[in-house]
């Protein structure tokens, strides 16, 4: 691989799934407390870093840019991405973006990827995403972004590698019944699953180095998008109502004293589950 590559990794700042998550307001939106980089995005970032490292590293002129769309505190997700090894960050920051659905998010990301190509004065070769965000969980943004940018698209990839020719990539994808081997021309978009790799932890040196990495901040208007294009106004889906699932309660707990299996079988029969 002798051509310098430009890789973009969209990352999302999300509420920690380990804590309590609450939808509130009208229309209901997810309350934003202290957040984290969406765990599934770490696999995309790791995949980008491994591809670069396998192709001569930063010395070969490859660039990995982390891109986020979100409020001011989404800068924390970018910071984490820079600590993990991205070379630079782009933050699309605009109050008008609040409440954006997948349609708007893909539209904003597509405009930002095109702007990145302009500013870098070279095309974006590869967009790498997680398989879903851990809050919205729709898995729609990768496919919508690929369609808008006219990129070859591999969703739910369990591995990927660049081909020697520098013009194509190979990937695998698990369906319920088979493993697909795939080839895609660059430029491409690949959404990776959590089987793709094991994300690294940043070391002290990387954390210090991240402080010097540049972050560009753009508004929706900088990307040519008006107030009616983004946020709730630009979205094609509306949440009307949100209710918490009634908490599951403990049922009967039986300590096995030799009859536990029979008890289990009788329970299934009584509940008409056999």
């Amino acid at each position: 691989m002798n051509r310098p590559l430009t890789l973009v990794v969209p990352v999302k700042h999300v509420p920690d799934a380990q804590g309590e998550r609450v939808l509130s307001g009208d229309p209901p939106v997810l309350e934003r407390g202290p957040g984290i980089l969406s765990e599934l995005d770490e696999y995309a970032l790791e995949a980008a870093l491994q591809l670069v490292e396998a192709s001569g590293g930063a010395e070969a002129g490859h660039r990995v840019l982390a891109l986020t769309v979100g409020p001011a505190d989404a800068a924390a997700a970018l910071k984490r991405a820079l600590q993990l090894g991205a070379d630079a960050g782009v933050h699309v920051l605009d109050d008008a973006l609040a409440g954006s659905d997948a349609w708007v998010t893909a539209r904003v990301l597509a405009a930002a990827v095109e702007r990145i190509a302009e500013e870098e004065s070279r095309p974006v070769d590869l967009v790498l995403t997680g398989m879903a965000s851990t809050d919205g969980e729709t898995s729609l943004v990768p496919g919508q972004l690929a369609d808008r940018l006219g990129l070859a698209h591999v969703g739910f990839a369990s591995s990927l590698a660049l081909a020697e020719d520098g013009a194509t990539l190979t990937a695998t994808r698990h369906t319920g019944t088979e493993v697909l081997e795939l080839v895609a021309p660059l430029p491409a978009l690949v959404a990776v699953t959590d089987r793709a790799n094991t994300p690294r932890y940043p070391n002290f040196k990387a954390i210090m180095a991240a402080k010097k990495k540049p972050v560009r901040t753009w508004s929706a208007a900088d990307l040519g998008l008006g107030p009616g294009d983004v946020g709730l106004a630009g979205s094609l889906t509306r949440v009307l109502e949100a209710v918490p699932r009634p908490p599951r309660t403990a049922g009967e707990v039986v300590v096995d004293e030799g009859e536990g299996g029979i008890r289990l079988a009788e329970f299934l029969v009584a509940r008409k589950l056999v």
């Binding site: 799934a17 209901p28 997810l30 997948a102 349609w103 893909a106 851990t134 969980e137 729709t138 898995s139 729609l140 943004v141 990768p142 496919g143 919508q144 369609d147 006219g150 698209h153 969703g155 739910f156 369990s158 994808r173 698990h174 319920g176 019944t177 088979e178 697909l180 081997e181 795939l182 021309p185 699953t193 089987r195 094609l236 889906t237 509306r238 949440v239 009307l240 109502e241 209710v243 699932r245 599951r248 309660t249 403990a250 049922g251 009967e252 707990v253 096995d256 009859e259 536990g260 299996g261 029979i262 008890r263 289990l264 079988a265 009788e266 329970f267 299934l268 509940r271 589950l273 056999v274």
Partner: protein
């Protein structure tokens, strides 16, 4: 009369999930189906039995291109049939199709729907099953992916052409699919277990660290119940079972009628994948295991004793 297009990926027989989509489509009005290639008479008869009025197929087969042929056909079929709603399964493959179809049709897309009423308001499960929302599209067309086991099927499933009915009209579309795409250059079948697919199974028997790597007792129970095998991330990471079996937030989310959790402590991530199951049974040695707090029946004991005894008892009850 509103028209609903159901995008299927079969050309042979209908599976349970396909039938659920067709029943849902008929509850909304007229139903059309898009298929990846021309169907045989058997499938056309089944579709007629579900009241499908028209079938849309591409003039040429899908070839080796990933995702985009189904998108191009569904877009052409939705436009030709004047579809107000497009329904797809909730699989990863279909979600990729739904995403791109949403862009082509300028349609709002709703994933993980568990219901859709005649006002086209969808009910969906969000935040790993912790919340339920009602939502709708503001666009003229709605694209929705529907979770399996969301729609009640009639007791008698149609398998043949109803008396006096005609087979649905088959519309052949010359689809334009020239956008860049990934190509499938190899396929390896995963070993077939003879069990239902994890995402669609009505019963899931799942194992974790407490199995010690031996899924034998779980497989026996799954087979007597007609269920699928699932696993916690710990069991997958230990290499005891393939990643396709993982249930949890970053694996597959399942909503079966019955989930039997065996030797899984039930950390937040694992719970997230199964908490919308109708009934949960847990077998665990540890009486402090968090899974016992959400199980309808918890058995504190050794799964290697409890499961075989349950299997034996169920078999004896069947005679």
């Amino acid at each position: 009369m509103t028209t609903t297009l159901v995008v299927l990926d079969t050309t042979e027989r209908l599976r349970r999930g396909d039938r659920e989509l067709l029943v849902l489509a008929r509850s909304l009005g007229e139903a059309h189906a898009a298929l990846p290639a021309a169907p045989g008479d058997g499938l056309l008869d089944e579709l007629a039995g579900h009241g499908v009025a028209a079938v849309h197929v591409p003039a040429a087969g899908p070839g080796d291109r990933l995702t985009t042929p189904a998108v191009a056909l569904a877009a052409a079929a939705a436009r030709a049939g004047g579809a107000r709603t497009v329904l797809l399964p909730n699989t990863p493959e279909a979600k990729d199709v739904a995403a791109r179809l949403g862009v082509r049709l300028e349609a709002g897309v709703i994933t993980d729907a568990v219901g859709l009423d005649t006002d086209l308001v969808a009910t969906k499960s969000v935040l790993a099953g912790g919340w339920t929302t009602r939502c709708r599209a503001t666009s003229p067309v709605l694209v929705a992916t529907v979770r399996p086991n969301s729609v009640e099927l009639p007791a008698e499933l149609p398998t043949e052409l109803p008396a006096g009915a005609d087979r649905p009209a088959v519309h052949v579309h010359e689809v334009e699919d020239t956008v860049p795409a990934a190509r499938v250059v190899g396929r390896t079948e995963l070993p077939a277990s003879g069990r239902p697919a994890l995402g669609e199974a009505r019963v899931v028997v799942a194992g974790g660290r407490g199995t010690g790597g031996d899924f034998g007792p779980l497989e026996e129970l799954a087979d007597v119940l007609g269920g699928a095998i699932g696993a916690s991330r710990a069991a997958v990471d230990a290499g005891w079972i393939g990643p396709e079996a993982q249930v949890g937030q970053t694996g597959r989310t399942v909503s079966p009628q019955l989930y039997v959790s065996c030797g899984i402590s039930g950390a937040v991530q694992q719970r997230a994948g199964m908490q919308t199951a109708r009934v949960i049974v847990a077998v665990n040695k540890d009486e402090q295991a968090p899974v016992l707090e959400i199980a309808d029946l918890g058995i504190v004991g050794d799964l290697k004793k409890v499961l075989p005894q349950a299997v034996e008892h169920l078999r004896s009850l069947r005679g």
